[in-house]
């Protein structure tokens, strides 16, 4: 148990230092919230949009978090592959799942910076209009969002561990999930089939949980339901990641094709 904790702690520490030093990560963390928050603010400002404040803050913050996590989490696999360190990682006594989970946790913690930037920037843009009605619930919902999207990112990293398309996919996958994630506009404006896909994503439930904390009305059972769905989706993706990572480790040890995928 102590060894596991040490692995997680040291992986998070090293990974945070390495990741923060990469210009691409700094760019995603800083520019993405700025661009999306400015655009949502300018587009929604004069329109009669419900949850205007929430969409400005969350559009900037959550898209920054999601972009940082996808860029970095999928990019991490690519980097390990380029450095030739995937096989040593597999051969080490620590499981791949643990190492990647720690890396993704580090990315999630760093991506909070995006939310911080989005909040400060929105405060400047919106002035006295800026208010988070349920501060404590917001913090809890943010924790749930990070947990569930991290579990989802872990699943994605598993898929791309065996693929050479990681570099392309890490660039591609960001935009579709921004569309169906409900970060800058509600998923209810999407066609039915897109809403059905969106319902499978923790990002959608996490976004909604966060958005409801901006509503001055007391938290309803609906909030608890979507918060529960965020948690549930996170647990499901974590379970899937754990199961398939073990299967994958066994398979690549048997076939010896981790570098050859």
């Amino acid at each position: 148990m102590r060894a596991t904790t040490n692995v997680i702690r040291s992986t998070i520490q090293v990974h945070m230092k390495n990741t923060l030093a990469r210009p691409m990560f700094q760019i995603v963390l800083v520019f993405q919230p700025f661009v999306i928050a400015t655009t949502t603010y300018m587009v929604y400002r004069d329109a009669n949009v419900d949850d205007f404040v929430a969409f400005v803050v969350l559009g900037g913050g959550l898209s920054g978090i999601w972009s940082a996590m996808t860029f970095s989490s999928l990019g991490d696999i690519n980097r390990e592959r380029w450095f030739g360190t995937l096989n040593p990682m597999l051969a080490s006594p620590t499981s791949l799942l643990l190492v990647f989970a720690a890396k993704i946790t580090a990315n999630a913690l760093l991506s909070l910076l995006s939310m911080g930037i989005a909040i400060v920037y929105s405060l400047i843009l919106l002035g006295s209009n800026f208010a988070i009605a349920h501060g404590l619930a917001f913090v809890g919902a943010l924790g749930l969002f990070l947990f569930s999207t991290s579990a989802f990112a872990l699943c994605l990293s598993l898929v791309f561990l065996l693929s050479r398309t990681t570099q392309v996919m890490q660039n591609f996958i960001e935009a579709p999930l921004l569309v169906i994630g409900g970060m800058a506009f509600p998923v209810s404006i999407l066609p039915g089939w897109a809403q059905a896909i969106s319902a499978l994503l923790p990002i959608r439930w996490g976004s909604e949980t966060l958005r409801l904390t901006f509503d001055p009305a007391p938290l309803s059972t609906h909030w608890w339901t979507v918060a529960g769905l965020t948690l549930l989706s996170g647990v499901v993706y974590l379970g899937l990641a754990t199961f398939f990572f073990r299967r994958l480790e066994h398979r690549v040890r048997y076939l010896g094709n981790l570098e050859l995928a």
């Binding site: 210009p23 691409m24 700094q26 400002r45 579709p176 569309v179």
Partner: protein, 268 residues
Amino acid sequence: MMRGRIVIFRNDLRLFGRQSLFSYRALVSWLNPRDYVLMRVLEPAFQIIFFALLGDFAGRPTSYFVVGNAVRLASVSGIYGCATVMGSERRSGTLQAIIASATPAWQTFIARSTMQIVDGLAPVIIGFALGGLFFDVDFGQVNWFWLAAALLVTSAAMSALGTSIGALGLIGTDINMVMNFVYAVLMVLCGVNFPVNQLPGAVQVISQLLPLTHGLQAVRHIFDGSLADVPGLIAVEAGIGATYLVAGYTAFRVAEHKARVLGTLDLV
């Protein structure tokens, strides 16, 4: 004598074209057709859809967002493609050979950037097609000649900006940061998703100095069928592009001179 010059000119032009084509093929050689579709068709399409839905939710015409983002996506090739050409030569260890060769290095890089102007138009065409099929983009009043001219000039102006960023990189600036910063700035300040006049006054001045602002304005006029201001806007866009090209050329000559005197081109 005259005939001889024509032959030399035609040969130069042929070499220029081959240089552009080979450079482009080298740049995208890692892409297979599936990856190309993902990166150059679907990814831009989803970006356009994202902003179109954002506009739709605000009750605004989605055509404004589709057209704005389709034209803006030309900057991906223009900025990233052109800015990285010089840096990638340095990484490959071939920059000194290019500088030392008989062909002027600047001419080589311009040739390599040319294909990016054409490639930059791919997401624009995809965006327009998407807009016509699924959103409310109306081509009824479009004058195709002026549309082609506006898009070509806008793409060229953004490529000029990308080339000048690449030249700055030779002097020692981290172009990765600059490229992405410029890309974000173009997205916010050039009237892509909201009119430039919604920005604070001082920021509007910056908008007027950037490529894309006038080119995009011309494209919007062309879609509205009001062509009176279009030639002027295209001329301004071309002027802005030319200015960035001159700035890039100056930065490149400074870097080249510094490199010849100090022998540090690969060391900055």
